[in-house]
């Protein structure tokens, strides 16, 4: 791990305390030791990429942050407050939203009902709800068209948009995005890139897990690279290029 790259990468976030900090996570599935001391930080409004081959533990890291899986050791800290032991629904309320790898929209609920699972929160006025809906339908017109259709009838790309839109309904501080471009056509990949940029402009932080290296390097400010359940490299996205040795080593691209 290049010392220069690390110090350059961390100088940015020591200025302000990170939004989310993950320290020394060890997560197990039964007897399998998946995460071996994962540590990373995400600053307010930052887009951070998490790269790595299949099965290295990227999704598990997201699930641990979201409280869907509990680590045996380590901490997850949100805005300075430890949230490691909290159940997922409380973590969602605190401002972390999750868009899982297989989208997992509610297939038997309509598009609108899917969005409502995020909208129906205490403290949100009807006016605000309408605002959020209008905004998301402006972003994703096709969802607006299909608002009363069951989620299961949407195409793969539309379901991905719904999954992201649904997370946006929570007005989160950070969205955990797990491989949003998987299985999508190039046109949709560009759209996802635009959405990430738009969210970034609004100040929403994103932890982006992806196999698509070029997209990740373009969309994020910093990247972590994982291998075998631990972080192996950390750098500013602008310092890395596709052909770099580091990329070749850990991602085989």
């Amino acid at each position: 791990m290049s010392a220069q790259a690390t110090s350059q990468a961390t100088s940015e976030d020591t200025a302000t305390a990170p939004l989310v900090a993950v320290e020394g996570l060890h997560t197990y599935y039964g007897k399998s030791h998946i995460l071996h001391g994962v540590s990373l930080t995400i600053g307010r409004g930052e887009v951070v990429g998490l790269l790595g081959r299949n099965g290295v533990g990227k999704s598990t890291t997201l699930k641990t942050i979201m409280g869907l899986v509990y680590p045996r050791q380590g901490k997850v800290v949100l805005e300075g407050r430890p949230v490691t032991a909290l159940p997922a629904h409380k973590i969602a309320k605190l401002g972390i939203a999750y868009v899982p790898e297989d989208r997992r929209i509610f297939r038997l609920l309509t598009v609108l009902e899917n969005l409502r699972t995020g909208l129906d929160r205490p403290g949100v006025t009807d006016a605000r709800k309408q605002e959020l809906l209008d905004k998301v339908f402006a972003c994703f017109p096709v969802l607006g068209e299909r608002r009363n259709q069951a989620g299961g009838t949407l195409s793969g790309g539309e379901q991905q948009m719904l999954a992201i839109a649904r997370a946006m309904m929570l007005e989160p501080k950070i969205i955990l995005l797990d491989e949003p471009t998987e299985g999508l056509m190039p046109r949709m990949v560009t759209q996802i890139h635009q959405i990430i940029d738009a969210l970034h402009k609004e100040g929403v932080a994103i932890l982006l897990v992806e196999q698509n290296v070029p997209l990740t390097l373009e969309a994020s400010q910093r990247v972590y690279i994982m291998e075998k359940g631990a972080i192996r490299h950390h750098a500013k996205s602008s310092d890395l290029k596709i052909g770099d040795d580091v990329i070749k080593q850990y991602l085989g691209v």
């Binding site: 979201m66 409280g67 869907l68 159940p87 997922a88 629904h89 969602a92 309320k93 939203a97 999750y98 899982p100 997992r104 929209i105 509610f106 297939r107 038997l108 609920l109 009902e113 409502r116 699972t117 995020g118 129906d120 929160r121 649904r166 929570l170």
Partner: protein, 298 residues
């Protein structure tokens, strides 16, 4: 040919019609019980062995309220309410600690509860059956019988309750929460839905529906501590035939099985007519294990 014609000539048309009515009445009650059972299973993977006892408790609460206030409607309401609350308490105390463990433990826990409740009822009320009086004792003439209006009322009320529940599920925030949790508990949590609360409320609703059926059905049969046993078995058959966790399927299966049993009763004794439901179950298990009315998944 002559034999076939004479069969149809002898065919007891009136009896058939009466039994259709009876079948629908029983079917609606069964649908109400089964809906609660399948809701509980669909949302938290719990096979509630104590469901029959919740039905029984509802009937007993009905007996008490009726004898103190004389109002059938109050009995119905209070039974549903009180047993619903009891159900919530039961879920919190015995089922929440078992969350995430082997699903077999919940079967055992609810089985234990059913034993406790049955014996409690036996202890408090004794072995002699009680009676709930019908709220309306009029009859109308159906062929050669005097058919009680009350039976039609039960069917209507059950349908109304189920319909109300359906509406609740389709509209409103909590309905969405319940449906979302039933489909994908994990993502429901990730969306901030308080899944533990949803579980408790769903259980309470299931219990309330069982209790309501107890009061509705009370006037037709005696109220005693074992009344839950027969019904819970039928309800389980209905839930398996209808597709576990499938609300629409349970209702269809309940009516279907009840009608078949009612028709069978024309020729055999009611005690033997129950064999029909067993046959339907075996048939379902052999050919359509996911549910008789459910398209077989790929």
């Amino acid at each position: 040919m002559a034999a076939i014609l004479s069969f149809f000539a002898d065919f007891p048309i009136e009896l058939f019609f009466i039994q259709t009515l009876n079948g629908i009445v029983t079917g609606m009650i069964l649908a109400l019980i089964a809906s609660g059972l399948t809701l509980i299973f669909g949302i938290m993977d719990v096979v509630n062995f104590a469901h029959g006892e919740l039905f029984m408790l509802g009937a007993y609460v009905g007996v008490i309220v009726l004898s103190t206030t004389g109002s059938f409607w109050l009995a119905l309401l209070l039974a549903a309410l009180l047993v619903g609350i009891f159900g919530a308490a039961m879920q919190i105390v015995t089922l929440r600690p078992l969350l995430g463990r082997d699903p077999l433990t919940t079967i055992l826990a609810t089985f234990g509860m059913s034993l406790i409740l049955q014996n409690y009822a036996l202890w408090q009320f004794g072995p002699v059956a009680r009676k709930i009086n019908e709220p309306y004792t009029g009859h109308f003439n159906l062929f050669y019988l005097e058919y009680p209006w009350y039976r039609l009322m039960i069917a209507g009320l059950s349908a109304a309750i189920i319909g109300g529940f359906w509406l609740f599920l389709k509209h409103g925030k909590f309905g969405i929460w319940i449906r979302a949790t039933m489909q994908d508990r994990v993502m429901a949590q990730a969306m901030g839905i308080p899944v533990p609360l949803v579980h408790t409320v769903a259980f309470a609703i299931g219990a309330a529906m069982a209790a309501a059926s107890g009061v509705l059905f009370g006037p037709l049969v005696g109220v005693n501590h074992t009344m839950g046993l027969d019904w819970v078995l039928k309800a389980f058959i209905v839930v398996v035939v209808g597709g576990m966790g499938n609300l629409g399927g349970s209702i269809a299966a309940a009516i279907f099985i009840s009608l078949l049993e009612a028709y069978a009763s024309i020729w055999v004794s009611p005690a033997q007519a129950v064999i029909v439901s067993f046959v339907v179950l075996i048939f379902t298990l052999l050919f359509r294990p996911t549910g008789l009315f459910v398209p077989t998944p790929k």
